[in-house]
């Protein structure tokens, strides 16, 4: 089978069949359960998925049906993709932590007939909306706990279905052959999966991707980073996110590597340390919080350790990246770096679970240059990538040796880029989606007739051919005096400080720029502890005068930075406030992928925004909050607003 040309394998189930043959005895998947890593080889995985798939057939899953997948990174949920696809059905992964209302919209819009849930919590959520989901026929679950007393007419355990599938296979010798024939009949241009975009604006849209889209993107991704069947990755990002779908499913099947599922959401750091993945993907948030943890723990370390850490991190900062990029370095520095590797970098990489990383990616948002350099100087090959669900991830990526913190890299294999007159980035590639499900209007406004897709992001291409992303095209605004106002650019500059978790900037069609800031609880609470600052709640800590003073310094630093850039000097921050509550996806303030929903926040916090512009020094605000179980409550506070100093571009040059 190995000799057959790759192109004849044009669906994921066909890759499963191939892998079960070519990599039969290699580990395909691991899952930490009961404290032990349990694994399946490709041959075993094939058998499990076949039994599951036959089980699905028995309850009536057929070609064209939509199968929702609700839950976290568990093996059986990943198997659902292949088991459904083998029958020609279309999997629709859904963000598990969505509140019932959001989930209902997706399940209803996608016309799902079957829903596969992780546990009782998700089953309850789906059951609560069955009245409004007339198409829904059966519910499946992975974990039986708490579900014993439920009526099992239309509720099945995955393991139970697999048993039925196995029994049916044993009874009927023909069944296995028929099942394989079904897979053979599948074609590359068919609908493979529907992924709902998180929707920073408006309702989520169902992005339809074909096998060709995902297979070619995955194969190109493998080729770009030379990934093969020896890789091991840890699957921990939401299943419904295109990134996870490509890394933990598309590339998993095409490269034939091993995917490891963590024990639970809280154990990821421990599990990653045990697995030491060779290929790693994380949004900047993860890298930020890891760095915050390291910094916080080093602050509490003994004197000797602290001094060593400080000394060798300075060495790494000076020459670490150069060594990683293969540039020449001073011999003394080289020796120092080698020592540092022995004492600090090696153990630190090991602690982070990154000792075997071949390539790591960050994407989704801009990453702070200091954070990015920190990991690279430790010898971790971290790179940036720019992608979208509509592109099956890859649009641009940084090739090895051409890593710059402020770019997102060069066009990926088979991707063409185009810049519109207003600076918007457009692309065309084999990964370009088929269209939005039941939304012709959105499809035609995003995808042109000749296959170009509007990213909605404004950017430019530099002399080296690298793409820079400035902001969402429609978010870049103008202050009343005509100077440019790029909100995300300002927000990111502030977010690079460890004590700041989230920022929302305002200024479009206004006199000056202002920001609302969320403190980072981990970092600030540790700082408070070390400085003997007592507080009882997030609200109290966020409004503490000393916290304000610290944030003020950060804002001041950003203003200085901005004043040095001619195009941005006008967008310096005139006034700021620290929010009394954390922005939360449950309250609709963030998307499920943790992006700020600007317009929603602008509406919700009208009194605060008024306060930012009417010169008042404090404002009262009361907002409704939604708890995870759907109950509502109210949080109110008086939030202080502070004024900042604005630097003239020239004034600073004089003082320097």
């Amino acid at each position: 089978m190995q000799s057959s040309p790759e192109s004849s394998i044009d669906t994921f189930p066909k890759y499963l069949v191939r892998n079960s043959d070519v990599y039969a005895s290699r580990a395909a998947m691991r899952h930490k359960n009961y404290g032990v890593w349990q694994s399946w080889t490709w041959a075993e995985l094939f058998e499990e998925i076949r039994a599951y798939s036959i089980g699905l057939q028995l309850i009536g899953v057929k070609a064209g049906d939509k199968v929702a997948i609700v839950g976290s990174n568990r093996p059986r949920l990943y198997w659902t993709f292949a088991a459904a696809q083998a029958l020609g059905a279309v999997p629709v992964p859904v963000y598990a932590e969505s509140v019932a209302e959001e989930m209902e919209f997706v399940l209803e819009h996608a016309d799902v007939q079957f829903a596969v849930c992780q546990d009782q919590e998700q089953v309850d959520k789906v059951l609560s909306m069955t009245d409004r989901l007339p198409a829904l026929q059966h519910l499946l679950y992975d974990e039986h706990r708490g579900l014993r007393e439920y009526s099992h007419d239309k509720l099945h355990s995955i393991a139970g279905l697999q048993e039925q599938g196995r029994a049916a296979l044993a009874d009927n010798a023909e069944l296995a052959t028929q099942w394989l024939q079904g897979i053979e009949a599948g074609q590359g241009n068919e609908l493979c999966v529907m992924l709902y975009t998180s929707g920073t604006t408006g309702r989520p849209k169902g992005v339809m991707l074909s096998y060709d889209n995902l297979l070619l993107s995955s194969l190109n991704g493998n080729a770009f980073d030379k990934l093969d069947h020896t890789e091991e990755i840890i699957a921990y990002l939401p299943l419904a996110w295109v990134g996870d779908h490509v890394f933990s499913y598309g590339q998993f099947l095409t490269a034939g590597y091993c995917v490891c599922c963590p024990e639970s959401g809280e154990t990821i750091d421990i599990d990653r340390r045990e697995i030491a993945p060779t290929y790693f993907f994380a949004p900047p948030r993860v890298f930020e919080s890891l760095l915050t943890t390291i910094t916080v723990r080093m602050e509490d370390a003994g004197k000797v350790k602290k001094a060593m850490y400080k000394y060798y991190m300075a060495v790494a900062e000076r020459c670490g990246e150069k060594i990683l990029n293969g540039q020449s370095v001073d011999l003394v520095d080289k020796i120092k770096y080698t020592l540092g590797n022995l004492f600090i970098y090696g153990p630190l990489r090991n602690q982070l679970g990154m000792s075997r990383i071949k390539v790591g990616y960050t994407a989704g948002e801009a990453i702070g240059p200091e954070i990015f350099s920190f990991y690279r100087s430790l010898g971790i090959n971290l790179k940036q990538l720019y992608g979208q669900t509509e592109a099956s991830v890859y649009i641009t990526a940084q090739p090895d040796g051409e890593i710059y913190p402020d770019t997102v890299g060069k066009p990926s294999i088979d991707v063409e880029l185009l810049l519109a007159d207003d600076g918007e980035v457009l692309y065309r590639s084999p990964g370009v989606f088929m269209g939005y499900y039941k939304n012709e209007e959105a499809t035609s406004s995003t995808k042109t007739a000749d296959g170009w897709v509007h990213t909605g992001d404004a950017g430019f291409i530099d002399d080296d051919g690298h793409l820079h992303i400035i902001d969402r095209a429609k978010d870049v605004g103008k202050l009343l005096d005509g100077s440019m106002f790029p909100p995300k650019y300002i927000e990111n500059k502030l977010k690079f400080f460890p004590s700041i978790q989230e920022v929302v900037a305002f200024g479009d069609q206004r006199d000056y720029a202002t920001v609302m800031i969320n403190i980072d609880l981990t970092s600030v609470s540790n700082w408070a502890e070390r400085n003997n600052i007592a507080y009882a709640s997030y609200q109290e800590l966020s409004s503490h005068p000393q916290v304000y003073a610290m944030i003020r310094e950060h804002v001041d630093q950003v203003n200085r930075d901005l004043s040095e850039e001619p195009r941005m000097a006008g967008a310096q921050i005139k006034r700021f406030l620290v929010l009394h509550k954390e922005l939360d996806a449950d309250d609709g303030e963030l998307t499920r992928t943790q992006k700020v929903r600007r317009s929603f926040i602008a509406e919700r916090y009208i009194p605060l925004i008024e306060g930012l512009y009417d010169g008042s020094s404090e404002r009262f605000i009361s907002t409704e909050v939604v708890f995870e179980d759907g109950r509502r409550g109210e949080i109110s506070a008086t939030v202080r607003i502070e004024e900042m100093e604005i630097y003239g571009a020239s004034e600073l040059r004089e003082s320097a």
Partner: protein, 269 residues
């Protein structure tokens, strides 16, 4: 199966598992319990409530054999209890948690829960020391059971953390884990939710109900939070100044005038 589960094997859910008959307990001149009688049925959640100093904890200590009442009888699994030591009670399938956490602070979560399996270990000291054959098999079996409990209580992330470093709510959960590890027939919980915030209480209530439905464990619980008690228990006993002043379903207790006067003040709507 240990001795306790064997003892209780003939008792159907809903039948009487434990009966307290006319118990009186005093410490010198102080009367802690006066003529208290009630029963606990197999498979139910039975709450013991009452104001401070009503004798709730004393009652629990009588049930698990730590206190010996001067007057009255305790019937367990249809047998009248005679002078018996607490560790023998543990062998009969009664496990408990404590009001003020009694864990081994320096030991990990895993090791703490493992100690709860001691009634299930029978290999002799020599084979334990060499750790071959029976002892090894036994340890693997017990570890597996402990891992199931860790999974059940969702405490995988603190498996190897010394319990002294854990926040209070989690320590309470570990203590529950240790009690569960004994595979008890009757589980006694002494204020499992004291000092917890609303969210932690909700979690703990969920776990208690799950223990009842998944393992079929009978649970006797002392708790101060009336909202929680009324929600999760099948029947309640109300004590006041060492005397029983009420016994029945949450609905009956809510409408019991003596209880309202003594404790609740006003009926909850």
């Amino acid at each position: 199966m240990n001795y306790g589960t064997k003892m209780a094997s003939g008792i159907e859910p809903g039948a009487e598992l434990l009966r307290i008959e006319n118990i009186s307990l005093s410490f010198g001149g102080v009367k802690a319990l006066t003529d208290v009688s009630f029963d606990i049925q197999r498979g139910e959640v039975r709450a013991i409530i009452g104001p401070n100093g009503a004798g709730k904890s004393s009652m629990l200590n009588v049930i698990n054999g730590f206190y010996h009442p001067q007057v009255g009888e305790v019937w367990y699994c249809g047998e009248k209890r005679k002078g018996i030591k607490p560790h023998q009670i543990a062998h009969q399938g009664i496990a408990r948690t404590f009001q003020n956490i009694a864990l081994f602070k320096g030991m990990s979560t895993l090791d703490n829960i493992m100690t709860g399996r001691s009634t299930h270990m029978s290999a002799n000291m020599l084979s334990q020391a060499i750790w071959r054959g029976a002892a090894e098999k036994e340890e693997i079996k017990n570890r597996r059971y402990v891992e199931e409990i860790i999974d059940f209580l969702e405490i995988q992330s603190i498996r190897k953390t010394p319990v002294g470093r854990l926040p209070y709510g989690l320590q309470k959960r570990v203590e529950l884990g240790r009690a569960l590890a004994a595979e008890p027939v009757l589980l006694l919980l002494d204020e499992p939710m004291a000092g917890m915030n609303v969210e932690e209480k909700e979690d703990m209530s969920r776990f208690i109900l799950d223990v009842q439905s998944e393992f079929g464990t009978t649970i006797a619980i002392i708790e101060h939070d009336m909202g929680v008690v009324m929600d999760i228990s099948d029947r309640l006993v109300v004590l006041d100044y060492g005397k029983k002043i009420g016994d029945g379903t949450p609905e009956e207790i809510r409408n019991n005038q003596a209880v309202i006067d003594a404790y609740l003040g006003v009926p909850h709507e």
